[in-house]
């Protein structure tokens, strides 16, 4: 059963990558731009799911990690103009360090308290950026002198490649022994501990991996857009969108959140003619999904039937 399931999944994955790779031949630059952003959001949602779906810790501040990565990369690029790759690496490192510093004390807390600390972390980062407006551009945002590429097709390919690699790595991790231990600690921490696993260490590792991917994706998003601003990267609304994407797609599946996030970005774009009401409709759809299909749109399809 599991093997057949894996083969089907592998097949679907290959088809997806093939279709996605040839898309730039037909689609306009505008559609490619929407999809590029969607892929980055896919990575955000996947790394959030690793933490929530598997480690069972609800992180209300995914944008804290993303923002750290994005702004570190942007500040470094503005100050010294190193190659873009180095900026992205620095952003990833900053997100990792920030994530560990946040998680070390926060993981001692349970449930809503952990969520609250991560939420407050976002608010503090947001305020810090506004206070140091001289360096960060405050609420208006800051531009970066370098970009990944000016060609939308190349940008699309970068985003797609990064998305696919992240999906493979995160999915592999979630299916590995470590992923199973994480899942156990998320569902019953006491029993996992009794079985001899170091719950805190595993959760910290999950947080670091989540931070690393968020940081890289955040930094790459900045170099794609050519600018970093609070409204597009750190705002709580962005974090909510990432969480909605993950829950919509089906938590604890890694791939579901990726698809959910892409669906959400594309859906918001499609509903743009509704004007102000598009957020209302999207939130309504997401609410209906979690009320009627709490496993998400793809939860039943993607989750292996190990617990039935």
């Amino acid at each position: 059963m599991t093997r057949a399931f894996n083969r089907r999944l592998l097949f679907a994955g290959i088809v997806f990558v093939l279709v996605a790779t040839v898309l730039p031949l037909w689609l306009s630059a505008y559609v490619l731009g929407v999809l590029t952003t969607a892929y980055y959001f896919g990575v955000f949602s996947m790394s959030w799911d690793l933490l929530f779906g598997f480690a069972g810790e609800v992180n209300f501040g995914p944008t804290f990690l993303i923002g750290l990565g994005a702004y570190t990369a942007a500040l470094l690029d503005n100050a010294y103009h190193p190659p873009v790759v180095i900026c992205i690496a620095a952003g990833a490192l900053a997100a990792l360090v920030g994530g560990v510093l946040l998680a070390l004390p926060a993981l001692r807390l349970r449930g809503p308290y952990f969520g609250l600390v991560t939420l407050v972390a976002v608010l503090l980062l947001q305020n810090a950026i506004v206070i140091f407006a001289r360096f960060t551009g405050g609420e208006i945002g800051m531009t970066v002198p370098d970009v990944l590429s000016v060609d939308p097709k190349l940008n699309y390919c970068y985003a797609l490649a990064f998305f696919v690699v992240s999906a493979i790595l995160l999915y592999g991790l979630s299916r590995s022994a470590v992923g199973l231990i994480l899942q156990a600690s998320g569902q019953d921490a006491v029993e996992a501990q009794a079985l001899g696993f170091n719950v805190t260490k595993h959760k910290l590792a999950a947080f670091s991996v989540s931070a690393l991917f968020s940081g890289v994706a955040g930094a790459m998003l900045v170099f794609y857009m050519g600018a970093a601003s609070v409204g597009t990267i750190i705002d709580i609304g962005i974090g909510v969108q990432i969480i909605i994407g993950a829950v919509l797609g089906g938590r604890r599946t890694i791939l579901g959140p990726a698809i959910g996030a892409i669906f959400l970005v594309v859906g918001t774009e499609l509903l743009r003619p509704l004007g102000q009401l598009n957020t209302f409709v999207i939130a309504g759809i997401a609410l209906a999904v979690i009320l009627f299909f709490p496993d998400g749109l793809l939860g039943h399809v993607l989750r292996p039937r190990e617990n039935t």
């Binding site: 929530f52 609800v58 004390p105 926060a106 001692r108 807390l109 349970r110 449930g111 809503p112 308290y113 969520g115 609250l116 600390v117 939420l119 407050v120 972390a121 608010l123 503090l124 305020n127 506004v130 206070i131 569902q187 709580i236 909510v240 969480i243 909605i244 829950v247 102000q276 009401l277 957020t279 209302f280 939130a283 309504g284 997401a286 609410l287 979690i290 009320l291 299909f293 709490p294 496993d295």
Partner: protein, 291 residues
């Protein structure tokens, strides 16, 4: 002079914070629900109150009443459309209910916020003061409205205290927060008690929303901030502890007023956030919470 000004202004703001947070903590204490649509409910009360007061012949007092009713109605909708279906759902595992309620009310709050922005635009609005005029409090010129708000908040909180501690209906709610199973065994219907708590909560949030609109003004963009401040006050005071929330409301209110007057108005929310992080790390159960 500034000291007195801070004392007076801080008191009025803190009383309003206290009123808004008490309902939030009551719901958590009795039914274990963290309602992230809290700011949205206050928003509906404030905007509907403002609209009725300005556009219909009912006037300011009528607007206040209609606003409170609108807040109550939104609270009912939140309970019946979002919270209760999740609590009763068989497809959601028991240990995941909490996170689903959080996500569900968050989405519902976003729907309220964007819906209100669509109907009323996202400009901040201010209601006319319920009582016009200025009075000197300890030598500080204060709008009578501000004094009235502080007094009204405390009257309502006092009534709530009497209701919870001195009436059978209140004692049942208290019992539900301590041991719901025991209460059901004594033959009380839990869903009725939850309904009662949501009614009280709706009225409290409605009053707080309308008063906020006549004091500081409210815009749809504030909904998230309102939820966040109520959440922080409640965590600071200890989840589920009403007296803890009252103390925390004053701590946060005065801290914000002090920062705004002495350092810079732009830094207003920061010290409270830092205090919140420290409290959560050092004493996660809050000032007066029980674990």
């Amino acid at each position: 002079m500034t000291t007195l000004q801070i004392l007076v202004d801080g008191f009025a703001i803190s009383s309003l914070y206290a009123l808004a947070a008490v309902g939030f903590t009551l719901i958590f204490g009795v039914s274990g629900v963290l309602n992230l649509a809290h700011g949205g409910i206050m928003l509906v009360a404030a905007l509907v109150g403002w609209w009725v007061a300005g556009e219909t012949p009912l006037g300011t007092y009528g607007g206040t009443l209609v606003g409170i009713l609108a807040g109550l109605l939104t609270a009912y909708l939140t309970y019946f459309l979002v919270v209760r279906p999740i609590q009763r759902s068989k497809a959601i595992a028991q240990e995941e209910k909490e996170i689903f309620v959080l996500t569900g009310t968050l989405l519902w709050g976003i729907m309220i916020q964007t819906g209100m922005a669509y109907v009323f635009s996202d400009n901040p609005v201010t209601m006319r003061p319920l009582i016009p005029g200025v009075i000197a409090v300890m030598g500080v010129r204060t709008p009578i409205n501000e004094v009235m708000i502080a007094v009204l908040c405390w009257v309502i909180i006092g009534l709530l205290w009497v209701l919870i501690n001195r009436t059978p209906a209140g004692k049942q709610m208290l019992a539900a927060s301590i041991n719901p199973r025991g209460l059901t065994l004594l033959g009380f219907e839990l869903s009725q008690i939850y309904f009662r708590v949501w009614t009280i909560y709706g009225v409290l949030a409605g009053v707080a929303g309308v008063l906020l609109a006549s004091f500081l003004g409210v815009g749809t963009a504030n909904a998230g901030q309102l939820t966040a401040s109520a959440f922080s006050i409640v965590v600071l005071g200890g989840l589920g502890s009403v007296s803890g929330s009252l103390i925390a409301a004053y701590v946060v209110g005065y801290l914000e007023t002090l920062t705004a007057y002495l350092i810079a108005p732009t830094l207003r929310p920061i010290p409270a956030l830092i205090l919140l992080v420290l409290v959560v790390y050092l004493r996660p159960q809050g000032l007066l919470g029980r674990r």
